[in-house]
């Protein structure tokens, strides 16, 4: 094992260990931060996974909201426990994802993106207009007697994030990943190599949808309240895309780095500047700066630096 690889493995193990211990520290503030960071990791990994196949999603709030509602309704109406309701949430998300992929067929790039945005907005309108299920604009509370307390929920979010990372790593070793990357470069060319894009799109969005719905479901158990504007908030989509772009798109670690940075940054601005307008303003500036100055994200910057130091002379950021 090369020293660099060993260092990476040790760092990974260290972070994993720390994350698994955190829920048992028990402080509400630490739990809240852990939940926010880990749910953003899940969202970012999910968004990055779709992007890896060339599918630009502007509809991650749809999966998030569906997952939240699936968890809420299964818990309140059927008495589902935390893990059961999360499985239901993931099923709902993967159904929605595969359905969306099947319906959008061969739409690409910006057209796919707009279709996903419309999908999410439709769900918001439907949720607002069907108060018999969702409580309408007044929202619904999770039955308080069902809530298992903060530690199990936080542990659930940590395990969820680790599981999503494991899935994304496992996928990166398979033929599936190679096919997705080929589709991203050119769907036409990948067809010539015998790749039928549809099953890959369906598979990819089913997994990404399940992940984002898991994050939504977990956040419902963390917060205990849901209304259509919270569930299908565009802000979820913005966060899901900003974390990978800051960290580095098409990489495994980029979404994680980005998610941690975003949550820390928004906490710091909230503490220093108060009003939430500033933290969102900073997210916008970050988005613009990243796209213009470092489209390969922090991971890309780091790789450039490492390559320069190694003297390979190439300035291109490698994509994983």
């Amino acid at each position: 094992m090369r020293p660099a690889t060993l260092a990476k493995a040790l760092a990974g193990a260290g972070v994993t260990g720390a994350l698994l211990v955190l829920p048992f520290v028990g402080s509400p503030l630490v739990n809240d931060w852990t939940v926010r960071i880990c749910s953003l990791i899940i969202l970012a990994v999910s968004w990055n996974l779709a992007l890896n196949a060339g599918l630009i999603s502007l509809g991650h709030s749809a999966f998030w909201g569906l997952g939240s509602y699936a968890a809420l309704l299964s818990a309140n109406d059927l008495g589902a426990t935390l893990p059961v309701s999360l499985v239901i949430a993931m099923l709902a998300g993967s159904l929605a994802g595969s359905g969306l992929a099947a319906v959008t067929g061969s739409l690409r790039g910006i057209f796919f993106a707009i279709a996903t945005l419309a999908f999410s907005e439709i769900l918001r309108v439907v949720a607002l207009m069907t108060p018999q299920f969702t409580g309408g604009a007044e929202g619904l509370y999770l039955n308080p007697t069902l809530r298992p307390g903060s530690t199990p929920v936080t542990l659930g979010v940590v395990l969820g994030a680790l599981a999503c990372l494991a899935v994304s790593y496992a996928l990166s070793l398979t033929r599936f990943n190679i096919a997705c990357r080929a589709m991203r470069s050119s769907e036409e060319t990948s067809k010539m190599f015998g790749i039928n894009p549809l099953p890959y799109r369906v598979g990819c969005l089913a997994i990404a949808g399940a992940m984002a719905s898991l994050a939504g479901g977990l956040n419902l158990w963390h917060g205990g309240f849901l209304d259509p504007l919270v569930a299908f908030d565009l802000h979820v989509t913005v966060l899901a895309q900003i974390a990978p772009i800051v960290g580095g798109i098409y990489t495994l670690t980029g979404p994680v780095v980005g998610a941690v940075l975003i949550v820390v940054l928004s906490e710091v601005t909230r503490i220093w500047l108060g009003a939430s307008g500033y933290s969102q303003l900073i997210l916008g500036v970050l988005l613009v700066v990243c796209v213009l100055a470092m489209p390969a994200g922090l991971i890309g910057l780091w790789r450039n630096y490492a390559q320069k130091r190694a003297g390979s002379g190439s300035l291109e950021a490698g994509h994983g």
């Binding site: 309108v125 916008g284 988005l287 613009v288 796209v291």
Partner: protein, 294 residues
């Protein structure tokens, strides 16, 4: 009978505004090939400009319109030159994220400077109405509609008859060939983005006396405009106009005929959008230009 005529009038008056907003998006996408998610923020800024003009100087929002159009144009021109210019050949995802970033920045600057309070900017035409038998035509909507139609026709005339308009159409058809013909395509891009922004700002100042103004008013209008543009087919000017009226009439009809309809009406554009993208991606008129491979 009267009620149907009334719905027709309401729908057409609403459709004119949708057409104005969508024409701006259609122009910038058709020529520059970058979907501008921040277009709604031009509308929002135009509405706030009108609001502050009324509040600080007591001028009518309509009197401010020329200044708002010029200001919006300069703002758009600068935005294109400074930022959009640099991502013309970037992957789609970067273009989307950049304009999304602008949208976030402008929304939150507005929220920080002017708070999230809902406001409105009354005009002299706000409180008068013409009654034609059983029909009601509010003057505010009629004036907004008329100005919108004049602006859209003006833009079309510019495209059709002016030298720059001809150059713009050439760039939209094939930017490489236009470049070879000696057209300064980057100037054309910046001018188009400026015109697009000024149409957005104009729409905003018209809306300042029709709807409530808030920092977040723009984004939903952008998504509706995507529906209008998709209905008409990208690149089809006539299609965009028809699309605006189709959306205006459908929303009016849905909010009237369906119980609790004004909530559902908000969803009409999204359903149109998905249906058109899925079943007929080239729009009703099928004139859409193929997306080039750049």
């Amino acid at each position: 009978m009267g009620i149907y005529l009334q719905l027709l009038i309401d729908g057409i008056l609403l459709g004119g505004l949708y057409t104005l907003v969508a024409t701006g998006i259609s122009l910038s996408y058709g020529v520059i090939r970058v979907i501008n998610f921040a277009h709604g923020e031009f509308i929002m800024l135009g509405a706030y400009a009108a609001f502050w003009a009324v509040t600080l100087s007591g001028l009518d929002p309509l009197l401010m319109l020329p200044a708002i159009i010029v200001g919006g144009g300069l703002f758009g021109y600068a935005l294109q030159r400074l930022f959009i210019q640099r991502i013309l050949n970037a992957p789609h995802v970067n273009q989307i994220l950049l304009t999304f970033g602008f949208s976030l920045i402008l929304q939150n600057i507005a929220a920080i400077l002017w708070t999230g309070d809902l406001r409105s900017a009354p005009s002299v035409v706000s409180y008068s109405v013409t009654e034609l038998g059983p029909l009601m035509v509010p003057h505010s909507r009629l004036v907004a509609f008329t100005v919108a139609v004049v602006l859209v026709i003006g833009m079309l005339a510019w495209l059709k008859w002016s030298e720059l308009g001809r150059a713009t159409r050439a760039v939209a058809q094939n930017h490489r060939a236009a470049l070879l013909m000696g057209i300064n395509i980057h100037l054309i891009y910046a001018i188009c983005f400026g015109i697009s922004a000024s149409l957005g700002a104009a729409a905003g100042s018209l809306m300042s006396f029709l709807v409530t103004i808030s920092p977040w008013m723009g984004f939903p209008l952008v998504v509706k405009s995507f529906a209008v543009v998709a209905l008409g087919g990208l690149g089809s000017v006539l299609g965009t106009i028809v699309g605006g009226f189709v959306l205006g009439l459908s929303e009016t009809a849905v909010s009237f005929f369906i119980p609790g309809g004004s909530g559902w009406a908000e969803g009409v554009s999204f359903v149109f959008l998905i249906a058109i993208l899925v079943f007929r991606p080239r729009g009703i008129f099928g004139l859409a230009v193929e997306e080039d491979a750049r």
